[in-house]
């Protein structure tokens, strides 16, 4: 009996009934529900920006919030698909966040062009990055904990989408909490750090999602 036959015998003798993991759509809906709950709790604790009603009349602000929501939805579904070895055989959907990020950049550029005369820069700067980081740590830990139960064959990419999902929650929270109209500040201290930290998910994924 050769080694492979012996291994097949051992594995088949050990096999027990296994419940398959949920479908990726269900999985991403669960993650989105948890993210929504977390966002609501964070906003209840911190409070929403006093001028939110007024801001919702500005089309570029609404577009920005809609794009952040779209980033959350696509990164959640992408992270769920990437948790399966074969991406649940829906490769195109797994890479959907790339298109949404391109649209997001377009919206931000348009909002920047529309910011005339430019809104005054707030006095604070890196505090916003730290706030997003603080809010995003728990979702990052939670999503990595869940994803480790799966079997990703793209650990780097899975890590990136997971971190972007978690930091999307933080970025959305801050936009709904902080009274700030300066799009330059938002780009510099909200979104660029969010993308930079998202790229660090590549490293994190390769270390934490190996199996």
């Amino acid at each position: 009996m050769d080694d492979i036959e012996r291994l097949v015998n051992n594995l088949s003798q050990d096999v027990q009934a296994v419940k398959p993991v949920p479908h990726p759509i269900l999985l991403s809906l669960r993650w989105l529900a948890a993210a929504f709950g977390y966002l609501v709790i964070a906003l209840v604790i911190s409070g929403v920006r006093p001028d939110l009603g007024l801001q919702l009349n500005h089309p570029w602000f609404v577009a920005e919030i809609a794009m952040l929501a779209a980033i959350l939805i696509t990164t959640a579904s992408s992270a769920a698909l990437l948790s399966f070895p074969d991406l649940h055989q829906q490769r195109a959907l797994a890479f959907a966040p790339a298109g949404i990020f391109a649209l997001f950049v377009l919206v931000i550029v348009c909002a920047w062009q529309g910011d005339s005369p430019p809104a005054p820069l707030p006095l604070h700067s890196f505090e916003c990055t730290l706030s997003i980081l603080g809010i995003s740590l728990l979702p990052t830990a939670a999503i990595f904990y869940v994803m480790r139960r799966f079997a990703s064959t793209h650990p780097g990419l899975s890590g990136t989408t997971a971190v972007l999902f978690a930091f999307g929650i933080g970025a959305l929270w801050l936009r709904l909490y902080e009274s700030n109209d300066s799009i330059l500040h938002v780009i510099e201290w909200h979104y660029l750090p969010m993308i930079a930290v998202g790229l660090s998910g590549l490293w994190l994924g390769k270390r934490l999602l190996r199996w």
Partner: protein, 179 residues
């Protein structure tokens, strides 16, 4: 072919329900399916066998991510490809770690390695303790008198790989004999 594909999905569904026979049959069928894929990409049969075992273990560990409602083959191939990439990455990083500096090699190649005060016979005991490939190369070059080029042709390696292997063997022998 369609029947065979269907049967893999059915076997996996039964395996997920805890059916040991179905699982053994599935793993055997997977081995038959993946062997040509690996053989095309790896040079040695023992490498294929080692990697096949890793893939079967990975399939076992990841079986909860398959629900039986989508084709089995792409799922199994995705795991096989992932493990193959891991294997090749480890192989090449190992090669780089043990790479010999060409300058060092150049200096050594000018040395009269075939004309030594020490005969091959006097150190043949030490040579036999070397890894099999290195021992074979030294035996062919120094006992049977083949050139590096002829040895390369004889054992199916390229000439520079033979020289590198011989160089490593000389280094090991020198260290052992100087002790």
């Amino acid at each position: 072919m369609a029947d065979q594909d269907d049967s893999l999905e059915v076997l996996m569904k039964q395996s997920l329900a805890g059916d040991q026979r179905a699982y053994a049959a599935l793993l055997q069928a997977t081995t038959r399916l993946l062997r040509p894929f690996l053989s095309k990409r790896l040079s040695f049969a023992n490498e294929v066998d080692d990697l096949m075992q890793e893939i079967l273990i990975s399939i076992h560990k990841a079986r909860h991510t398959y629900d039986g409602d989508r084709p089995y083959k792409p799922w199994a191939y995705a795991i096989a490809k992932f493990r193959l990439q891991d294997h090749l990455r480890a192989y090449y990083s190992d090669q780089l770690r043990h790479a010999v500096d060409f300058d060092e090699l150049e200096e050594c190649l000018h040395e009269p390695v075939t004309e030594s005060v020490m005969s091959y016979e006097s150190i043949s005991g030490e040579v036999e303790k070397l890894p099999e490939k290195q021992a074979t190369i030294l035996r062919l070059m120094h006992q049977e008198g083949y050139t590096a080029k002829e040895v390369a042709a004889k054992i199916g390696m390229n000439e520079s790989a033979v020289k590198v292997a011989a160089h490593r063997a000389y280094k090991v022998l020198r260290e052992r004999l100087e002790r």
